[in-house]
């Protein structure tokens, strides 16, 4: 006997993500899901961003790693709420893991929650966590071919940060080509060229972020 079903396999996760989203909406908290391959500079970007926007918006951070609490410790130095999730092997965060951190936050005291996903260019893109938008980092040492090889993450992201541009003189990397390739996969991407080392480009990103958070608050 054949039964036709037609069900999205990720539906259970999507449902939890929607519930998370309802809570964030109710509290007026902007949430973004920060993704990249390991070491592209997610925690570095957060450190620089916190420095620049602290005082303008109230931030909280969820750190996702397979193991260790090193990233959470780096963020805790800024005196903002941060929760470390250890996935114990899983290569991505999902809606459920985010929900499990809720009792650790006072969302009435937050404007922005950043979720640093597990370093991985594939899996995190498939799982919603209840975010307003996804932002991804590609560092210039990773190569121009990445948008075509890992299209889902580029397609799902609203923002692309091209990081480590201070290294451009030392690597065979054409930033213009990265931009071109990324825009093919997602013509609506907002792109920032940045260096977390020299600080180049970070003002534009932080301005955009603060503005996005404010707009959402007043919406």
């Amino acid at each position: 006997m054949k039964i036709s079903v037609v069900k999205d396999i990720l539906e259970a996760n999507d449902r939890i993500a929607r519930q998370n989203r309802e809570l964030f909406d109710e509290k007026g908290v902007t949430v973004f899901n920060l993704m990249s391959s390991p070491g592209a500079g997610k925690t570095s970007l957060l450190e620089k961003t916190i420095e620049a926007v602290q005082g303008k918006i109230r931030l909280g951070v969820i750190e996702g790693d397979i193991q260790s609490s090193q990233d959470a410790e780096r963020i805790a130095r800024f005196g903002i709420p941060v929760v470390q999730i250890n996935t114990g092997g899983a290569c991505h965060l999902d809606g459920n893991m985010i929900r499990d951190t809720f009792e650790e936050f006072d969302f009435d005291e937050l404007d922005l929650l950043v979720v640093e996903n597990v370093g991985n260019l594939v899996c995190p893109a498939e799982f919603q966590v209840g975010e307003d938008f996804k932002a991804m980092i590609l560092s210039v040492t990773e190569g121009e071919d990445k948008p075509a090889k890992y299209p889902l993450m580029f397609h799902e992201s609203r923002v692309l940060l091209i990081n480590k541009i201070d290294l451009v003189p030392y690597v065979d990397c054409d930033v213009e080509k990265i931009r071109e390739e990324a825009l093919k996969v997602n013509p609506h991407l907002t792109i920032f060229d940045i260096s977390c080392k020299t600080g180049e480009g970070l003002d534009a990103w932080c301005e955009w972020l603060v503005e996005t958070v404010r707009k959402r608050k007043s919406a």
């Binding site: 039964i3 396999i9 594939v122 899996c123 893109a125 397609h155």
Partner: protein
Amino acid sequence: MHEMSIAQSLVDILKEEMARHNVHRLRSVKLHVGQLSAIVPESLSFCFNVIVSGTELEGARLDMEIIPLKAFCQDCRENFEVENYTFVCPLCQGTNIRTEAGQDLSIVEMEVD
């Protein structure tokens, strides 16, 4: 390797559906795997077999059909197949595109006894 989480969600849904239809043996499942989804079919099969071994679902076959990416241009109303993951209208070069197929990962049919 997120195929393990996906295989687990799949098994959860299958068990639910089987209970709902009051059937006990699963012969096969048909999945539609969107071209954009980041799933490796072999890896999903492998994880599925690991999870169902020793359960009543053991021996069920996973049939996966890759669904090509199709899109619709909302500016010039052209329907087109997205080639090389380029989400630009081949006719008018517009980017006001709606993806029509090839993004999802879904169960479409189960064969049961």
